[in-house]
């Protein structure tokens, strides 16, 4: 079932390497094992830094290298909390699940930092929550060709699904359509995820077909 490696998410553990999930659990169990942690840092430090950085930017905040380093350290500290229980109790098995777990942890740390900072300033009116940031970002996304956001708000999604010629994948295709036009994800970003199991060109075709369907319904 796992297709992560096919889509570029590096899959460890195929040869003699310990798998990422096992490494995570072992690090949680052996908090002072230098060699294990060195391996952890080599595999995940860069990713953690990227996740911290992206979350900072998503919150429309400015983060310099110093702040990024501080927050990455905070992520490590959070992983170590309660004697590393969150790591040793990790239940995933795949590399992707480990990355998703680290991504969520990084996002939590950065969000908490900005929340605490805003609370410290006692300027609650200026707090930018993740939801607010998301909506700001949403507003700034420009739809291609059609003002699809407003059109979709009129159209019964169910009908769009029903009109999709590819019946078997109708819901997936409509979801892709919404991810692209409403959430602003690029075709490339969508194609990176094994859950969609599609190449960039296949996604382009889906979007083209659904656009044509919409135009037809709008009588254009």
């Amino acid at each position: 079932m796992n297709q992560a490696s096919r889509f570029g998410f590096r899959q460890r553990g195929a040869d003699n390497d310990v798998s990422s999930a096992d490494l995570l659990r072992e690090c949680g169990r052996r908090l002072t094992d230098a060699a294990l942690w060195q391996e952890f840092q080599e595999r995940f430090h860069k990713q953690l830094t990227i996740y911290v950085m992206r979350t900072i930017w998503k919150l429309n905040a400015k983060g310099n290298a110093d702040l990024i380093c501080d927050l990455v350290q905070d992520v490590y500290l959070r992983l170590l909390q309660n004697n590393g229980r969150v790591m040793s109790g990790f239940r995933g098995e795949t590399d992707f699940s480990v990355l998703a777990f680290l991504g969520r942890t990084a996002m939590g740390v950065v969000s908490d930092y900005y929340r605490a900072r805003q609370a410290g300033k006692r300027q609650t009116a200026e707090i930018v929550s993740i939801d607010q940031a998301r909506h700001q970002e949403e507003r700034s996304n420009t739809a291609e060709e059609l003002d699809v956001t407003s059109i979709l708000s009129w159209i019964d999604v169910q009908r769009l699904v029903e009109s999709e010629p590819d019946r078997r994948n109708a819901t997936r295709n409509v979801l892709i359509f919404k991810l692209h036009y409403i959430e602003g994800l690029t075709v490339r970003e969508i194609s990176q995820y094994p859950g969609f199991d599609l190449t960039e060109s296949a996604i382009e075709i889906i979007l083209k077909n659904l656009r044509a369907q919409l135009k037809k319904r709008m009588g254009r």
């Binding site: 840092q41 996740y51 969520r104």
Partner: protein
């Protein structure tokens, strides 16, 4: 992120479910159910998009630049993921190492000729320190290879003060003093001494290389450019001077200039294929290859 809650469209997706959906790890039935929900539930779809943006593999150039800056800062601040040993143990080890070095010199003074076949020179002290401990990633001239230890090991302390006195007693010249301060981690003092040494138009490449290391480590405003100039000066005097090539690769790496860094790794390996330094370079090359 999202928590479980009931809506008119069914139960919202948990974080784990979102991850599993993206990973393609759900059964067809569960996958379809998730899709039905994601089409209708704006909040869950927004969460899905947030996770997709966060985890995407592509790193754009702006991110890459910031990433390099953060990596350099991490290195400069000597940060580490977690204490790899209990702090007291680390400090004990570091202290014992320096006490050990100091003791060797005291013994050497008492039993001249036995340890060093004569009075230990200032360079002997520098070399003994370098053999015990690697102060940073960069390579000083004539530095024996020691694997980098992710512990703070370049802190000043009474042992260094003791050794500094020994250096002065041995009439260490500006170059040796500069090297000594580099190992101690006092980069401004090191640069001061090494600049004096580099004033000599006949200063060998070793001086320029070590001065470059001082700038690279101090990492203040304009220091990277100064470091680059010094490494280039070293190479102008000896175009096959491995430490300068090694250090240029680190400098380019920190600047986010991966292609230049890789070019210098290759150049380094042409000059040095067997040492520990070469193995370290090879490790970097293979890590870079696996990231591509």
């Amino acid at each position: 992120m999202n928590s479980q809650r009931e809506t008119g469209n069914g139960e919202c997706l948990t974080e784990d479910l979102i991850s599993e959906y993206l990973e393609g790890a759900l059964t067809p039935v569960l996958k379809a159910a998730c899709e039905v929900h994601l089409i209708a539930c704006d909040r869950c779809r927004e969460n899905l998009a947030t996770v997709m943006r966060l985890l995407r593999e592509d790193v754009d150039p702006e991110e890459e630049t910031e990433l390099q800056r953060a990596a350099a800062q991490w290195e400069r601040r000597n940060l580490q993921a977690v204490p790899t040993r209990r702090p007291t143990e680390v400090w004990k080890r570091v202290s014992y190492a320096f006490v050990g070095v100091a003791a060797i010199f005291v013994m050497a003074l008492l039993f001249r000729g036995f340890f060093f076949m004569g009075q230990p020179t200032a360079e002997d002290i520098v070399q003994a320190l370098l053999e015990k401990n690697r102060p940073f990633d960069a390579q000083m001239s004539r530095q024996p290879y020691v694997a980098i230890a992710r512990t703070r090991s370049s802190e000043s302390g009474p042992q260094f003060e003791l050794l500094a006195e020994e250096m002065t007693k041995r009439a260490a010249d500006a170059y040796r003093l500069g090297r000594f301060y580099l190992i101690e981690g006092n980069y401004t003092k090191a640069i001061e001494q090494l600049l004096t040494a580099a004033e000599d138009p006949n200063a060998p490449p070793e001086v320029h290389n070590d001065l470059g290391v001082g700038y690279l480590q101090r990492y203040g405003e304009g220091d990277l450019e100064r470091a680059r100039r010094e490494f280039e000066s070293a190479l102008n005097k000896n175009k096959g001077f491995p430490p300068a090539i090694f250090n240029l690769s680190i400098l380019y790496e920190r600047n986010g200039m991966s292609a230049d860094a890789e070019q210098h790794w290759k150049r380094y390996l042409e000059l040095d294929s067997d040492s520990g330094w070469a193995q370290e370079v090879r490790k970097k090359v293979s890590r870079k290859d696996s990231e591509k």
